[in-house]
């Protein structure tokens, strides 16, 4: 443990400034910040130069008597007007950059990023790749977080499905959220946009270099706020085309026959995975939950009672609690699987099954 900590300390390269900018606007922000540093630094040295001169020269212990002046209108005017002028000079370039940052028009690709507690959902809604959608969840294993395994290089900044975008293309990100406010933040692009439930906001970036850029949710969104990273892979146009084709194939393969009748074993097996990815954060892998905030599923009234109530809470969630509606997040099959799993895992032995067709019917 101690050794592992030491090793980590040795790897981590600390950093005094922004991450290397990967877009033109991020570079402008970098330069603006440097400009502010120089100006503020100069003022600081000026003011405290005077003050510390006083501190060293105008000491009582060196026998000084105090002067008596206590007013000087000219001086006071000067030090009101000059800072005002400096501020105006600073604000001008910032205004220009800000206006450019807020211009999300004429994008090549539009992606909707939806914040959930605690993962991101992405829908490619316009441009090359249209129709691709997936969830993106932290992929750092629990063991690393809890100190049972050494931490990997990209600890907490890695996901199962990265956002992939082509280099040099303008990407517009629409943000929204399902439950609480989240924020989509990628430092290397100088992009941060709150994702507000019930509203759609936008931001954009045009990456200049290929590479993998990592960020995190930047608005407190509950228990696992620190565990919902954002990873953007910027690739060449060719690689992007290949990725799009691959995703499309996957989507087609995932579109199962809705009429297929599954066996209990199949549903339970699939349900276990769905549960681990979507429900375990709150209800815990053991099904015991974290009462009273997150109730147990093991032995719960709903998971051992009639199927309809169980379907209802998973599809529609429960307003005013963090139990979200999963109807838009999961396919019929996944919902059927996870419900079946919950009804037949741990100490629950309902023995019954929910088929995708039941879910389809319940959605109406």
């Amino acid at each position: 443990m101690a050794l592992a900590t030491l090793a980590e300390v040795a790897w981590a390269d600390y950093q005094l400034n922004f991450q290397e900018p990967a877009t033109k606007l991020a570079r402008e922000v970098y330069d603006l910040h440097m400009m502010m540093m120089y100006i503020c630094g100069a003022i600081f040295v000026g003011v405290f130069g005077v003050m510390f001169y006083s501190v060293f020269k105008h000491r009582k212990s060196s026998g000084r008597t105090a002067a008596t002046f206590h007013e000087n209108t000219t001086v006071e005017m000067v030090w009101t007007v000059i800072p005002t002028l400096i501020l105006i000079a600073m604000v001008w370039p910032v205004t220009k950059t800000l206006i450019a940052m807020r211009d999300a028009s004429s994008a090549d690709i539009t992606i909707k990023a939806t914040g959930y507690q605690w993962k991101w959902g992405y829908d490619y809604i316009k441009g090359e790749g249209e129709g691709i959608k997936f969830m993106s969840v932290l992929s750092t294993p629990r063991d690393q977080i809890e100190g049972r395994a050494p931490k990997g290089e990209h600890y907490l900044l890695e996901t199962d499905n990265n956002v992939v975008v082509p280099v040099g293309k303008k990407i517009r990100i629409l943000t929204t959220a399902e439950d609480v406010i989240h924020a989509w933040f990628v430092p290397a692009f100088a992009v941060k946009q709150d994702a507000v439930p019930g509203f759609i906001r936008d931001t954009s970036f045009r990456a200049e270099r290929e590479g993998i850029y990592r960020g995190q949710c930047a608005e407190l969104c509950g228990k696992d706020h620190g565990f919902m990273p954002i990873v953007v892979e910027v690739v060449s146009a060719e690689k992007y085309a290949v990725w799009v084709a691959g995703q499309k194939k996957k989507l087609a393969a995932a579109a199962e026959d809705p009429q297929k009748v599954w066996t209990l074993g199949e549903l339970k097996q699939r349900g276990e995975t769905v549960y681990a990815q979507n429900c375990a954060a709150c209800h815990q892998p053991t099904g015991k939950g974290l009462p009273p905030a997150f109730p147990a599923i093991d032995g719960s009234k709903i998971a051992t009672g009639p199927k309809e109530a169980h379907l209802n809470i998973v599809l529609n969630g429960k307003t005013g609690t963090s139990m979200q509606a999963f109807d838009k997040q999961l396919s019929d099959t996944d919902i059927a699987a996870v419900i079946t799993y919950e009804r037949n895992a741990w100490g629950n032995h309902a023995g019954d099954m929910v088929q995708p067709a039941d879910v389809k019917a319940a959605r109406q």
Binding site: E8, F18, L32, M36, S54, V55, T80, P83, T84, A293
Partner: protein, 534 residues
């Protein structure tokens, strides 16, 4: 400033003649029923220090968890409760009551009033605080735990919380009532009970700053009470102020909250400006430079503080025109802030300086608060703030203004007036040690957080990526150093109360003001006959 006082104006004045003297209840009842501004001031100060320790322990738990990447000490949900309570307790339980304590003690002494205008309300406004604090602390032990949505309490996260959230809301209501009563008292006292000849423009700056602050409090505390009440009705009574599904808007909360919140940050700092102005002038043995422009700058800051709230919300997606407006308005507020710093520097210029502990804390204040002002300026630049918002940079910024700002000025004031309160000199050597330890450990804790924020570490996270490790470790070590150094202050204060060199009426040769004309310790009743200021 000169005052002529009649023979029974102070000192000997209370020896006889006034029937109630000496007949006050003793023991606990004395403190429960007192209407004396000095007793109440003392209780405020002790309460605030106790809250400072409680909030500080929470901060140390937060910093311990952040010593290393990974989850070691607390669970994420508890971590969020700690950050929330730490913020609420420090702002509403420690800093604000500390300055109300100073106000109670010093304003009547400074303006030549025999007590605060409304004695019983004064008692009541103090005794509201302990139940509110209890509600906050006990909320950690109710099912679901304390509020965990951050001290800014943004919905819809607040809608999801357990009853700890309701307790926090009630605590805020009570604290708000207490501050409003305190403010009414302060305004009435200053406007009506000034000694003959004590015109407003002769009033010591500490009293001036409180006059502005009290108006700010009366203006904004009801707004906070309103917005948390809206949260309460959204939670329990089916309203949808902040839920889009019912036609509301979560961002509406943020607008209302920050309409309170930005003036609030000035409520926290403005009385500190007053303390520092007086301390700098006393130990430079020179009148405050530009007294009138100081007063105007404070008033300007007070008024402008209502016009900049959405600079906390640059990333919520407001229209570009609003972003530009809030950016320009925020830059504007930096001008009067700058004026104050220039004025303090000019006050020291060609003075006859000595560096007792109050002066050290005052200079430390100016130095570090200026850094906080600069980081505020950086944050005000909307394009740059997009990188900084909700990262550790913001955490660094507001600790430079609230800890190195408000708290350091409170220490400056405490050392400055301790002889007046206790009748003894504090231990100067230890006071200086306290300053230097605080100064060094403060910077160790918070300076590095600028780097963390710039590199992209979000705030309010219990675990972080590996590249943030070193700075977090430095910060945690600094935090423990800072926390432990404050126990030294407790020791200094207690030994000063218990004994020590006798303090003369005016222990600081450069100090000015009526408070130095009454003996030390200030007798229970002062200015029974009003002094006349010439």
């Amino acid at each position: 400033m000169n005052a002529t006082t009649t023979a029974n104006g102070h000192a000997e004045g209370h020896a006889g003649g006034h029937p109630d003297h000496g007949h006050q209840p003793a023991g606990l009842m004395r403190w429960l029923t007192t209407t004396n501004h000095k007793d109440i001031g003392t209780m405020y100060l002790w309460f605030s220090f106790a809250m400072f320790i409680v909030g500080g322990c929470m901060a140390l738990m937060i910093r311990s968890e952040l010593f290393q990447p990974g989850l070691q000490i607390v669970k994420p949900e508890f971590f969020n409760q700690l950050t929330t309570l730490h913020g609420l307790i420090m702002v509403f339980g420690a800093i604000m009551p500390a300055f109300v304590g100073f106000a109670n003690w010093m304003i009547p002494l400074q303006i030549g009033a025999s007590d605060m205008a409304f004695g019983r309300m004064n008692n009541w406004s103090f005794w509201l605080l302990p139940p509110a604090a209890l509600l906050l602390v006990l909320s950690m032990f109710v099912p679901g735990g304390a509020a965990a949505a951050g001290w800014t309490l943004y919905p819809p996260l607040t809608i999801q919380q357990g009853m700890g959230m309701d307790m926090a809301i009630f605590a805020i209501h009570i604290l708000g009532m207490s501050s409003i009563m305190g403010s009414i008292n302060i305004i009435t006292t200053i406007l009506n009970l000034r000694a003959p000849g004590m015109t407003l423009m002769k009033m010591p700056l500490f009293s001036w700053t409180w006059l502005v602050t009290a108006y700010l409090i009366i203006a904004v505390m009801p707004i906070l009470a309103g917005v948390v009440t809206m949260t309460l009705t959204d939670r329990h009574f089916g309203t949808h102020f902040f839920s889009a599904a019912g036609g509301g808007d979560p961002v509406l909360f943020q607008h209302i909250f920050w309409f309170f919140g930005h003036p609030e940050v000035y409520i926290v700092i403005i009385p500190g400006f007053g303390v520092v102005s007086q301390v700098i002038s006393a130990f430079s043995r020179k009148p405050v430079f530009g007294y009138a422009s100081m007063v105007y700058a404070i008033a300007a800051i007070g008024i402008l503080s209502f016009t900049v709230w959405a600079h906390h919300m640059y990333t919520t997606g407001m229209p570009i025109s609003a972003q530009l407006y809030f950016m320009y308005a925020t830059m504007l507020i930096a001008v009067p802030t700058g004026v104050k710093i220039f004025n303090w520097t000019a006050t020291m210029w060609r003075g006859s300086l000595s560096f007792e502990t109050p002066m050290l804390f005052a200079i430390g204040f100016i130095f570090l608060f200026t850094l906080g002002g600069f980081s505020g300026l950086v944050l005000a630049m909307a394009a740059v703030d997009v990188q900084m918002q909700d990262t550790y940079y913001v955490v660094a910024h507001f600790h430079y203004t609230m800890v190195a700002g408000a708290l350091f000025s409170a220490f400056a004031g405490a050392y400055y007036w301790l002889p007046k309160w206790t009748g003894h000199m504090y231990n100067e050597k230890l006071g200086k040690v306290h300053f230097w330890l605080s100064f060094i450990f403060f910077n160790m804790t918070f300076f590095v957080q600028h780097f963390l924020g710039i590199a992209g570490m979000p705030r309010r996270i219990p675990d972080y990526a590996l590249q943030f490790t070193e700075f977090n470790q430095i910060s945690t070590i600094g935090a423990f150093g800072f926390g432990l150094s404050q126990l030294l202050f407790l020791y200094i204060a207690i030994s000063c109360i218990k004994g020590g060199e006798k303090a003369p009426a005016k222990p600081w040769d450069g100090a000015e003001g009526l408070e130095w004309e009454v003996p030390s310790p200030a007798p229970h009743h002062t200015w029974v006959v009003q002094p006349i200021v010439k």
